[in-house]
């Protein structure tokens, strides 16, 4: 039979349409406006999941985000979502969901045998067991991991889109209930830019669950007119299905908007949107979350929160069961009683812990002939798959014991209310400290730390009239604080005051005869019971934080939204102190779990990080280059020809460059344009060598250190004019070097008249290198390239292949080289022209790998490869580039004792005994071999290649006191065996530099 518990009328569901859905592979029906939870209740589904630890059957408890039990796996395949509360899933046609954490199914769950062991699985169980012998833990762990974990993550990439919005507003109102609506109205009427967010599909908040009256009309009529008025204001944005989940510093609030209901479809745009709101003022109107009363086996399916029962009846037209008992310590639960009675649902009885409930609502209840059992408590819920009986006993005067005989009240649902906890999560996230109200026994916001104010139930004002009044006041004062004070003559919403009597603070029903039978759950999600908390306290975990950690109370997906305060109350009782002395909980974002996808937004896949390419990139791609990531740059690594291995390609490129001509795209080298009368002075301070005497048109190699004396970057800088230099940096360091120079200029040397600017992308650079480089360049330009006219380390401006160019005669390969710079737009044309003209000479494009081999043959370092932030210029044998006279950044540190130790690691060359062996980079060098570790390491290999030119392998290494050890034999123990090598000078090729100067 379909929807047996659907009431004949009522609710905000669309009964004209029927939706079909499946739960645990069974088909059911519901209506638009239902949640999965309400539809399941309508269909009489009582067991919806199994508990985390004991796998006890569990039913729906709540109607909102606080639901601890009804966690489901929604959908299948790449879009499957684990651990969603059924109370927050809007029903759609074809919805398919399954319970999490049951195997093979919710009705017959193998894991549930653990509940028979429950006497021996108390808090801290894992710490005391599974530990002997220790090596077995890993095996136990595997089993435990499989048993834990709730739902399943998808196994395929998510096809959905997530996007983000940044926005500002004067007043952000969180919560679309009576207080939030009133606040938004007041702020909007004052002229402020307002954003109103609410997590439900429609506005109204708690009013959706009530049969309340505002301005003498049904509250939801008022809600609708308020929404219409807000929608008519220019500067008001209303976001429904949107959760404010994080309140961060400087009034920065994160919202998650669920933009698709029903099956997600990328054709409809993003599935979720992360809003990042910077608000001048915030009004928190986040409502309250009901808390239960705790008694034996209070997790039986059918035991629910009273407010939730009311919500199912009023909002969804569903009764969770045909015969409902109510257990309360306050008047609010009587609203549930009266609404149920009005809808014709049988009330088995009301059990009130108060001896004399005197409020209007209990009186009405009694007047209607409904039995109210006063001064009593439910001591135990009985039943198998679902509740069938509530056992009730009388409380003694102090409520410390239960007395008398047990009265058994047959019922299918027990609606429980222990009062309401203001939802102070966002307030707490904002940095505020909560304070405890004794009369309502709950924490409310204390003093504001940020520009926010709380209104309504989240502020401890539970009565509708108070919610409206506080909301109006908060909205007006927030607008005023943001500078908007326009007065409004519109009618203020008002509601009648109901005479409610005080609640009686009450948490856990005393055990029958002082001995606790059954389980009293505080945190049904994590299966944490009263006994667990008591045990933790007895064992010495006195601090509430320790107890929380020991028992895992409040650590589940619901983050303890219902039961945390009971834990505090129990600890307070055991320690004989009051609740605030025990502590409160500091809430952290997110308020409810948020998908990784929403946080990441579009910054994944192709948009993860920008790719930088040079103007010649297309040519490289067409030539079949393999690329290497250098920072954000894509640089050609090598250019394999048909059938070539990397080694073969690199050997060919190396030989061609040494014997004829090679060409490298050097556009990625950092280029910083430095101009001003103090340009030379700046260089003098940031480079270790002297710069004041450099002639115009000449280039100089320089080293930069950080203030601790360690090498930071190197490169060639050219004096283009009296007050004009072009600095080059390593490709990966360009931005860092510019930022470094800017920092010094702005913070320490503001008196220097000099500007530095990145021009890296303004120029394209083709470097031609090799014995025929001059010949080729001669064909494309008309300047004198003779050695005297254009010597090594000099610069000329000229036209090359018709393009205006800056030509730098500098060399990183050890061959005669010209780095030809043209405006970036001409880069590809220049490259093509060089390739065409060079063809007769055998011009060969080469990539970074060949560049690395050629420079290593020459013993040239790469900053970041030969160095790692612990290497000084002296360690590298570059004393010649370090001035003894002038000051520079890092100079003082180079004089310190540790920087001049003889046993510092120094740059040397290594030649392997067998010329074919190529040492792995990173390999460790020992002077004394031992059979087994530990072995003392004297250094490591920084660069290592096969050199086709030399016919053997070469390596650069940093070795302790290495320069003194030249000629010594060292060992490199590796997995496959130990290699032997000789320490040499780091320059392997053309030590005199005849070729590069020739």
């Amino acid at each position: 039979m379909s929807q047996i518990y659907r009431l004949a009328e009522g609710g905000r569901i669309d009964r004209s349409r029927t939706l079909t859905f499946s739960f645990n592979k069974r088909k059911y029906q519901g209506h638009p406006g239902d949640t999965l939870a309400s539809a399941l209740l309508a269909n009489g589904v009582s067991v919806v999941g199994r508990s985390f630890k004991y796998h006890r059957p569990r039913g729906i408890v709540a109607a909102g985000v606080e639901e601890p039990n009804a966690l489901v796996q929604l959908g299948t395949g790449a879009r499957t979502q684990p651990n969603l509360p059924a109370t927050m899933i809007e029903l759609f046609d074809g919805l398919s969901a399954e319970s999490v954490n049951c195997w093979p199914n919710v009705d017959y769950d193998v894991g549930s045998i653990t509940q028979w062991f429950s006497p021996i699985m108390p808090a801290g169980f894992y710490y005391k067991t599974f530990m002997w012998p220790a090596r077995y833990w890993m095996a136990y762990e595997r089993v435990i991991r499989r048993a834990a974990g709730l739902g399943k993550a998808p196994t395929q990439p998510d096809p959905d889109i997530y996007d983000k919005m940044h926005t500002h507003c004067d007043v952000l109102v969180v919560g679309g209930g009576p207080a939030g609506l009133a606040a938004a109205l007041a702020a909007g009427r004052a002229g402020a830019r307002v954003i109103l967010v609410d997590q439900q599909p429609e506005l109204g908040g708690q009013l959706l669950a009530e049969r309340a009256v505002v301005n003498d009309e049904p509250a939801l009529d008022w809600t609708n007119s308020a929404a219409r008025e807000l929608a008519g204001m220019d500067d008001v944005r209303m976001l429904s299905r949107t959760t404010a989940f994080g309140y961060y510093e400087h009034n920065y609030v994160a919202l998650l908007e669920r933009r698709q209901t029903g099956p997600s479809n990328t054709a409809n745009g993003s599935r979720e949107r992360l809003w990042k709101v910077r608000a001048k003022q915030v009004v928190l109107a986040t409502g309250a979350i009901e808390r239960p009363l705790v008694f034996a086996d209070n997790d039986r399916p059918g035991v629910m929160l009273a407010g939730a029962v009311r919500q199912y009846v009023n909002r969804y037209g569903v009764t969770p069961g045909p015969r409902i008992a109510v257990f309360t310590n306050n008047d609010d639960a009587y609203r549930t009683v009266l609404d149920l009675a009005d809808s014709g649902v049988r009330i088995a009885a009301v059990v009130d812990v108060r001896t004399d409930p005197v409020g209007e609502l209990p009186e009405k209840t009694i007047a209607r002939g409904i039995e109210v059992i006063k001064g009593s408590a439910v001591v135990r819920a009985k039943g198998g798959w679902r509740l069938d009986t509530a056992e009730v006993m009388a409380l003694d005067g102090s409520a410390e014991t239960v007395t008398g005989s047990v009265r058994r009240i047959p019922c299918d649902v027990l609606a429980v209310s222990g009062g309401w906890n203001p939802a102070i999560h966002l307030f707490s996230q904002s940095g505020g400290k909560a304070r405890f109200l004794d009369d309502t026994a709950c924490f409310v916001p204390g003093a504001s730390v940020q520009a926010e104010r709380s209104a309504g139930a989240c502020n401890g004002a539970f009565a509708l009239a108070d919610c409206l009044a506080e909301g109006l006041a908060a909205g007006a004062s927030a607008a005023s604080a943001a500078g908007f004070t326009r007065k409004s003559r519109r009618k203020k919403p008002a509601a009648d005051t109901v005479g409610e009597a005080a609640l009686r603070p009450f948490w856990v029903v005393p055990a029958v005869g002082g001995k606790r039978r059954g389980k009293h759950f505080l945190d049904p999600h994590n299966d944490v019971s009263v006994a667990d908390v008591e045990l933790a306290q007895r064992e010495g975990y006195e601090s509430s934080e320790l107890t929380k950690r020991y028992t895992t109370l409040g650590m589940g997906t619901d983050q303890g939204k219902t039961g945390n305060i009971h834990g505090l109350a129990i600890m307070a009782g055991m320690r004989g102190v009051d609740i605030p002395t025990v502590g409160t909980t500091t809430f952290r974002p997110p308020y409810t779990p948020v998908t990784f996808g929403a946080f990441a937004g579009r910054d994944i896949g192709g948009l993860y990080d920008p790719v930088r390419v040079t103007p010649m990139h297309r040519w490289h791609v067409n030539a079949g280059a393999k690329f290497e990531d250098v920072g954000q740059w894509k640089r050609p690594w090598y250019f394999p020809q048909e059938g070539e291995t990397m080694r073969e390609a690199v050997d060919r490129e190396c030989l061609a460059t040494r014997n004829a001509i090679g060409i490298l795209d050097a556009s990625t080298l950092g280029k910083i344009d430095i101009q001003g009368p103090d340009a030379s002075e700046l260089l003098n301070r940031v480079y270790t060598n002297a710069w004041k005497q450099l002639a115009v048109g000449r280039c100089r190699y320089g080293l930069m250190c950080t203030e601790d004396g360690m090498l930071f970057d190197d490169g060639v800088t050219t004096r283009l004019g009296e007050n004009h230099y072009m600095m080059s940096t390593t490709s990966g360091n360009a931005a860092r070097v510019l930022a470094w120079i800017e920092e010094w200029l702005q913070t320490e040397w503001p008196e220097l008249k000099v500007y530095a600017n990145s021009v890296t992308e303004s120029w394209a650079t083709a470097a031609i290198s090799g014995p025929l480089a001059r010949t080729l360049l001669g064909e494309l330009t008309d300047i004198d390239l003779a050695n005297d006219a254009f010597p090594h380390m000099s610069f000329q401006e000229a036209h090359v292949a018709g393009f205006p160019a800056r030509i730098f005669r500098v060399s990183f390969t050890g061959e005669t080289s010209f780095e030809i710079n043209v405006p970036a737009s001409h880069g590809l044309a220049l490259w093509t022209a060089l390739m065409d003209a060079g063809e007769p000479y055998g011009i060969t494009p080469f990539g970074t790998e060949t560049m690395h081999v050629l420079r290593a043959e020459k013993g040239f370092i790469i900053a970041g490869q030969e160095t790692d932030g612990t290497v000084t210029p002296i360690d590298l044998g570059m004393d010649w580039a370090v001035s003894k006279k002038k000051d520079f950044i890092g100079k003082r540190s180079l004089n310190r004792a540790d920087c001049v130790r003889a046993d510092r690691k120094q740059l040397v060359g290594l030649l392997t005994e067998n010329p074919k062996d190529v040492l792995p980079e990173g390999a460790q060098i020992v002077s004394e071999l031992k059979d087994r570790p530990p072995m003392e390491m004297i250094g490591h290999v920084t660069s290592s290649y096969h050199s086709a030119n030399l016919g053997h392998s070469i390596a650069l290494a940093l070795i302790k006191g290495g320069r003194e050890r030249t000629g010594e034999t060292v060992h490199v123990p590796l997995v496959g065996g130990t290699l032997t090598a000789t320490i040499t000078d780091p320059v392997f090729f053309d030590p005199e530099g005849a070729r590069l100067r020739g």
Binding site: Y248, E249, H250, N251, Y252, K276, R278, G431, V449, E707, D708, A739, E742, E743, Q746, T747, E748, P750, D887, K891, R892, S893, N895, R896, A897
Partner: protein, 94 residues
């Protein structure tokens, strides 16, 4: 995400800025005259204030200007931003 007031551009999200360490530590004019201990102090020792802290920031994704911020290192409250070379407008603390 702090809201930082750049003296040149106005209030902007923290993501546009980079932190640059404690402010008002001047590089010694004659480093060679310093003892090893004094030099190590300059390099490594910072006040590490718990409370008011004056520090450098750079508007790296904006005007690229360096400036100073007076911030509370416990609450992240920002009391003031001021240009390089200006006197700190906030008294007290370290």
């Amino acid at each position: 995400m702090l809201l930082i007031h750049c003296p040149w551009c106005g209030p902007r999200d923290e993501i546009e800025f980079k932190y640059g360490g404690e402010a008002h530590i001047t590089r010694p004019t004659e480093p060679d005259a310093l003892s090893d201990t004094e030099w190590a102090d300059y390099l490594f020792m910072r006040t590490n204030a718990k409370g008011l802290h004056r520090e450098r920031w750079v508007h790296s994704a904006g005007c690229r200007r360096w400036f100073n911020v007076a911030r509370d290192t416990v609450t992240n409250e920002i009391f003031a931003s001021y240009k390089m070379g200006e006197k700190p407008p906030v008294e007290g603390g370290s």
